[in-house]
């Protein structure tokens, strides 16, 4: 055993132990690097973009990559593809975080309450969750957007709502497992209230499965919002959203391959990052959850 390893084992903080395992896990680290890259691009998009993503330059429309000073070419309205893709990273990261936050907050709360109180509350909540799960997931998203009206914000809300069952189930299962454990019973005996027990004692111990689910969920959310935009139900022109860029390229598959190809690759890479990190986290935090 190397000295570094011994040092890590001595360290009692569980978070730093997880971080140590994370650093050893190639899958997770690759994912983390990709995600970090996309977040940085998202934050610094205005600084690193060579041009304004919305500026049209009709004279130079459908310019091929590497010509006329356009690294990745221009789209059908002469807008710089690279700048649009960089700004698209910002939009996709925001979509992922907001939709997952919505499902995380509501899903965890529902699962927590349902499992903690049990009985009739649990029965009713689980029935409602079953009804939501009776809709094929993407269909539920589409219906919610169709009702709310097509916009990027509504797309995020719709994705957030339709992912709620996933989180409720995960949280419910782990709360049920923790609820009767000794430390919870001890704290209850010491006079801890329901809220304190739920949020301070039980929830922190359910964080492992939740974080895996949330990481994978961000990837799903990015894919779904791209799909919604592609169908005209999400982001609206001229927003540089990747799915919308793919949608508007449909007519040019015979003439300009780069307009189709690049936004897809950007989406693929960012989602890949979250899937890699999610798979890695699952291996580290809960080996039993491996598929």
């Amino acid at each position: 055993m190397s000295e570094a390893q011994i040092k890590e084992i001595k360290n009692e903080n569980p978070l730093s132990e997880h971080w140590y395992q994370l650093r050893k896990n190639k899958t997770a680290m690759t994912g983390l690097v990709i995600i970090a890259l996309f977040i940085l691009i998202g934050i610094f998009a205005p600084l690193i973009s060579p041009m304004d993503p919305l500026e049209q330059n009709i004279e130079f429309r459908k310019t091929a990559p590497l010509t006329g000073g356009y690294l990745l070419g221009t789209d059908d309205l002469g807008r710089d593809m690279l700048s649009r893709l960089l700004y698209g990273a910002r939009i996709s990261m925001i979509i992922g975080v907001i939709s997952v936050s919505i499902s995380l907050v509501f899903g965890s709360a529902i699962g927590l309450i349902s499992a903690y109180y049990g009985g009739i509350v649990d029965k009713i909540v689980m029935r409602l969750i079953d009804i939501m799960l009776a809709f094929p997931y993407i269909l539920l998203t589409i219906v919610i957007v169709a009702v709310l009206g097509p916009s990027l914000m509504n797309a995020m809300v719709a994705i957030g709502i339709s992912q709620i069952p996933r989180y409720s189930r995960v949280v419910r299962a782990s709360v049920l497992a923790e609820k009767e454990s000794d430390y919870v019973l001890a704290e209850r005996a010491l006079g801890a209230g329901d809220l304190e027990l739920m949020f301070k004692s039980i929830l922190p111990n359910c964080l492992a499965p939740i974080s895996v689910q949330a990481t994978l969920g961000i990837g799903t959310a990015i894919l779904d919002s791209a799909a919604l935009s592609f169908l005209g139900l999400g982001a609206q022109p001229p927003t540089p959203e990747w799915g919308l860029m793919i949608a508007s390229s449909k007519e040019f598959i015979t003439s300009a391959w780069w307009i189709v190809t690049f936004p897809g690759i950007a989406t693929l890479l960012s989602v890949l990052g979250f899937n890699l990190l999610g798979d890695g986290l699952r291996d580290i935090l809960d080996p039993r959850m491996r598929d």
Binding site: R127, L128, D130, I131, A134, F135, P136, Y137, I138, L139, I142, V143, I144, A146, V147, L148, G149, G219, L223, A226, A227, F230, L231, G232, L233, G243, I246, S249, K250, I253, T254, W257, V260, T261, P263, G264, T267, L268, V271, L272, N275, L276, D279, R290, D291
Partner: protein
């Protein structure tokens, strides 16, 4: 066994009732007057009032709801605003196209996915395993509609190998009976017109691959991990030590048990395909229920949207039920719990 099935069926009814209720109120409580949305801003007041009366929108909400429930029980979803046809007959007409596509996609995904999964598991950590698992990861990370467009770009437009859309060469005229084109054109194989069947098959290739990519990736991963688990078990060691050939050990003895979790995944994915078809069908101009539903949503054809969603969700729930029952037939542990 019968008790288990009856219990599951009893749970089905409240779920379906919930689905119908949720769909009804989501559409009914949508902001804006459906009649105005359907007819446009410039429609005259009388016209809007007439449509509201036709749709029953002038009645109180509770009455509308009970009326809707009564009709749904008889599979009557009203008439499509756009075409004037009963929603149910529109769905019935398009359903075979979607089922045909979903079946082909699933056959593609299952055969290839199980094969790749077994190959990866038996050669764990080899380059075959690594490539397949990276490939599977790409498969689930990719926007499927983008894959479809790239395939059209390369194989249809570029190489001219496959048609860009549709179900059959439009010059081949025949009367569809079942609307499953592979079945309808099958008899032409023996009547000197084999090109009918081949054309239908040819049109299925790209959409099936596009629709089947995600299930393919998930089936390959599930098969691999399930296979790895089974291969460590004692009975496999016993079989091996009795001198049976390795290929037979894997396909005859190990795969049989490894397929149990795969069957559940296949069923679940098949249910999801019905809705995943919305994107694929839109891109490949496939005249199925997905494309139809998308058009209904775009046109705000509310009776059609309600009917379409209820039918697809019901199929989804039923498929899941069948899968669960099948699973309990193969795996007695489940029903004894």
């Amino acid at each position: 066994m019968l008790k288990y099935i009856l219990k599951r069926l009893a749970l089905l009814l409240p779920t379906l009732f919930g689905v119908v209720t949720l769909v009804f109120f989501m559409i009914a409580l949508a902001p804006g007057d459906p009649a105005r949305v359907m007819l446009g801003e410039r429609a005259s007041k009388e016209k809007i009032e007439r449509l509201r009366a036709d749709l029953g929108l002038d009645k109180p909400m509770s009455e509308q709801y009970t009326l809707y429930l009564k009709r749904v029980v008889h599979l009557d979803f009203g008439k499509s605003i756009k075409s004037g046809q009963p929603v149910m007959s529109e769905i019935r007409e398009r359903f075979p196209a979607t089922v045909e596509l979903a079946f082909c996609a699933m056959i593609f995904a299952t055969l290839l996915g199980v094969w790749i999964g077994v190959l990866s598991a038996t050669r764990k950590n080899s380059w075959v395993d690594l490539t397949s698992m990276v490939g599977a990861l790409f498969g689930v990370s990719m926007p499927v509609f983008w894959l479809a467009l790239v395939m059209i770009m390369i194989f249809s437009v570029g190489l001219n190998m496959f048609p860009t859309g549709g179900r059959i060469n439009i010059r081949y005229y025949f009367t569809p009976e079942t609307n499953f084109y592979l079945i309808d054109t099958f008899k032409y194989l023996f009547r000197g017109k084999p090109e009918y069947f081949l054309s239908a098959l040819h049109h299925l290739v790209l959409p099936s691959i596009a629709l089947g990519t995600i299930p393919l990736a998930i089936i390959a991963r599930t098969t691999r991990s399930s296979m790895l688990e089974v291969l460590t078990q004692d009975y496999i060691k016993t079989v091996r030590s009795s001198g049976i050939k390795e290929g037979r050990v894997i396909y005859r003895y190990a795969l049989r048990n490894a397929l149990l979790p795969v069957i559940t995944v296949i069923g679940l994915q098949f249910g999801l395909l019905l809705s995943g078809a919305i994107l694929t069908e839109t891109i490949f101009a496939w005249p199925g229920i997905g494309k139809w539903l998308y058009q209904a949503i775009s046109a705000r054809d509310y009776p059609a949207v309600q009917g379409g969603i209820i039918i697809i969700s019901t199929c989804f729930v039923l498929i899941n039920l069948v899968v669960d029952i099948l699973y309990s037939v193969i795996n007695p542990k489940v029903r004894l719990q």
